[in-house]
Amino acid sequence: MITNKARLDCPGAIDRNRTLRFTFDGKKYCGYQGDTLASALIANDVNVVARSFKLHRPRGVLSAGVEECNAIVQVGEGAGREVSARATQVLLYDGLVAESQNCWPSAQFDISAIYSLFSRFLPAGFYLKTFMWPHWHWYEGFIRRAAGLGRVNDEADPDYYTKRFCNCDVLVVGGGPAGITAALSAAHVGASVMLLDDQAQLGGTLLWENESIDGRDAKEWLSLSLTHLDSLENVQVLPHTVAVGYYDHNFVTAVQTLGVHHCAGVPGNGPRQRLLKIRAAQVVLATGAIERPMVFPDNDRPGILLASAVRHYANRYAVSPGKSVALFTNNDFAYRTALDLLAHGVAVCAIIDIRPVHKSVMISRARELGIRLLSGYGVIATTGRKRLKRVQVAPLNDTGTAFVPGAHHWIDCDTLAMSGGWNPVVHLYSQAGGKLKFDTEFASFVPDQCEQRLTSVGAVNGSYTLNQCLTEGHKKGSAVAIAAGFLSPAVSPDAPLSQDDSDSHLQPYWQTPAIDGNSSAGSQWVDFLHDVTVADINLSAKEGFRSVEHLKRYTATGMAVDQGKTSNINALAVMGQATQREVGQVGTTRFRPPYLPVTIGTLAGSRVGELSNRYRRLPVVWHWHNNGIAEDHSGWLRPAYYAREGETEEQSITREAMAARQSAALFDSSSLGKIEVQGTDAAEFLNRVYINNVKTLQVGKVRYGMMLNDNGSIIDDGVFARLGHDHFLVTTSSEGALTIAAWMEQRLQCDWRDLEVFITPVTAQWATLTLSGPRSRSVLEKLGLGVDLSTDHFPHMSVASTELEGISLRVFRVSFTGETSYELNIPADYADSLWQLLLKKGKSEGITPLGMEALNILRIEKGFLEVGVETSVETTPLDVGWSVPVSLKSADFIGRRSLVRSHNQRADRLQLVGLRPQDRALQVPEGTLVLNEQRERVGHVTSSCNSFSLNASICMAMVQAGESLIGSTLVLAIGSVDHPAEVSSSVFYDPKGDLLNV
């Protein structure tokens, strides 16, 4: 049998026929369908639901909405466990398991609560001030653990997520009365409308206020309006969808929750959430307002709630947070809570109102009902450790700045409902770049002006009566639709009307004055989540952290999970008082996305696991059926080496490299960038982008070249071949394939529009298979290509176009290994067949497939540089030994002028050299620092290997004035050991290049 002690007799919006069981901190409870976790906990009289962040003080539920900063819990178990969920936003389901956070072993009994005994010694900035020596980072790990907010779930998320792009004429954010009327009136004009609301049920305050609209119950009006919206084809209503980010040009992101609560990973449940990326011609913000707490001593005890939340719980969930409720307010709104509670049969023991006696509809009604009114009173103390027991009140003087001495007394109550006014939810408005202004009557920041096509309606503007909300929504909804290009309709329906037009008569009350000159009263909490008090803010002001940005960072107020939804305005006002400024002068921080925390999975969408980073695939698939070990290499999956039974990785790599030096090796270099450059000005164009002379290149010949940017830095290198007078094939590094083609295109379109040149990137169209080694020619001759491959006819740096069984084939005699090599370009679809054919034909010559690792050894032995490995964004051709080709060329090229700038001529620049460690077996990690005799840093190792050909450890390195140091000895600092190494030329193997011309 269900025992919900705090449940009221009124029906509420819960279904008492459907009991739901749930567990909180290991204890079993029951609630009803329609409850939130928070309302169910209140129904079960659970007072302490969490501990505060710094001092571990017991905390109870504060609110009934997204602004909750106390009841932050972990929900679910195992892989589906979610941290930092707001109990007020978790819809109850059968079997729900939740735990409190930031406490051990439970919120009821928390060992770390001992911190609260030392609260006086833990002021703002305490950790930063105390743990300075020798460095904050020494302590950070320990302190962060002690201040944890829930345990991160380190299991893979069993749920999946999707994304959707949407467009609409009018996007309405917020499905309360203002938002609904705005959507209805925009739709009436003919605009396509999206209406989002963060709650599972639309209606906003109408779900829990007792109001009437157009002479009927507001809930009935709500249901009719929603039915009407549903029937319109140009309207999409999206409940449970929270707009989290507002970006430029009316781009709004929203998170739509689709899954049934937290039924994580249950097959067939569909995605849990969907990220909406919405582009709207016009946006209407109807985001409402959040009630703000009153600031008084010990205002953080369980049992002290926002007045609107108490009303919300009673009217909607039929629960009362207490049996005898006092109210503390500075405006008329709290009186509604008192009236509603009385109607539900809950005892209201007093309304403590800081305002002197005045006349209003609300006050008269309270008086008629015989409620005890303490006008001109403030709360000066509270008692009750895990549940409020008593509040102490005292009369304020005429100006409200001090208490009348000796007149205080105690009131017994188990709940205090407080209302300090309203904070408009201006987060999205601010994210949109909108400016805020301080509304003195409303005592809060409201939207002022914004460059984007954006308007705000309802409580976010400080329009707090229902009638104002309805009128504004109705008027602005059609106005923005017309602004989006729709014609004003001939007949417009009248705006809905409500009786609620009462004023709130708010009188700001930002903090409680000193009591009888005694400042030792309890702390006045401003930010409950971070334990920030009035004293902390005063200290911040005293220490000079007066700007709102400093205040936030120094005290942590308004940070993390709740982003100061309840605390910001109070904190700014207290800072204003401490520095003799108005709140408006203190200003606010600019709000940043997201409005509510977003699960990373939602942002990733379907791009997880294999889809998170798609590799480019080589056209040859033989590798993956023949023990090729796949590795990521500049975004391509390439074989690092081919494993063989009985071999270590190193042995395999050595075997492959030996084949290239001794017989023949076959290498898949299809990722090599390939760009066709054609047109009457092709030679002139390339002459301007290469440091080399291009115009003198004969048809059928190939040249190695470098490209620079205009700073003189190397951006790419590779060979280029002249296939015809006006036809070149340019090869680039794998990384440069896309960027170089785009860069060339930009030059032609923007700078040299008079040149007739066409750029076609063909990397994916042509595969490149490289045959390398002393026996490579014999292998290639077996294909019968009809090309005389002898060195006399087809020397190093030649190109020929031919056919193989009717398939186009281009043969380049170039080398990246130092041995006689042929690069074969064939249409990608035939790459796998050609690969297998070459392996078959070359069997007698000992042909061996070669992976990336072995290739790297071969190119280091030859000192061939890899752009981006040897070079940085500063490296010029002069730094890597290419001064001669540059000085021989008279025509201008990109980067040429910069090479003679003084900085690029300095003698102490990093220059490419070789290093030979004296320990021939030494393994040198790339990036190893190179030191001189004085152990000063003079450079770093860029590439290294253990060369079997030379039986030595060799490195390529960038060293200051390196060329002048050739022959001398430097030091490689590996770990704590120094290893001497001789500086040499970076070409270790066959320095004259004789083998290339065999």
């Binding site: 970006y247 430029d248 040009h249 781009f251 582009r279 770049g433 460059e451 205009d710 700073n711 785009a742 295109e745 930009q746 379109q749 923007c750 700078d751 529009r753 201008d892 040429r896 002028r897 910069s898 700038r901 003084s902």
Partner: protein, 96 residues
């Protein structure tokens, strides 16, 4: 994410475009004859205005064509889009 009205393809999201920096940067006609300072200013000195900025964009994931536009760096309002080889319309010179 802003939207840009590509002169060939129409209104598209920023993610389809590549930004090319300030427009109308003139490379000295004869680099050999200019001093280090003038060359350095061509390479590195940019206006970086608060307000209207004339800049190059390319619709890389569409027609792959470059064009110029004037964008307000504060409000991101785009007031003019014009061909790559044309001078900026008058309105773009507010910050000169």
């Amino acid at each position: 994410m802003i939207q840009i009205d590509c002169p060939l393809c129409g209104l598209r999201d920023e993610s389809e475009f590549t930004w090319g920096g300030e427009a109308h940067i003139c490379r000295p006609e004869n680099p050999d004859t200019v001093g280090d300072e003038e060359w350095g200013s061509y390479l590195f000195m940019r206006q970086n205005p608060r307000g209207n900025h004339r800049e190059r964009w390319c619709h890389s994931y569409g027609c792959n064509q470059w064009f110029n536009l004037i964008r307000d760096t504060v409000s991101h309002k785009i007031t003019s889009i014009y061909p790559i080889d044309q001078l900026a319309p008058e309105s773009g010179d507010d910050n000169e």
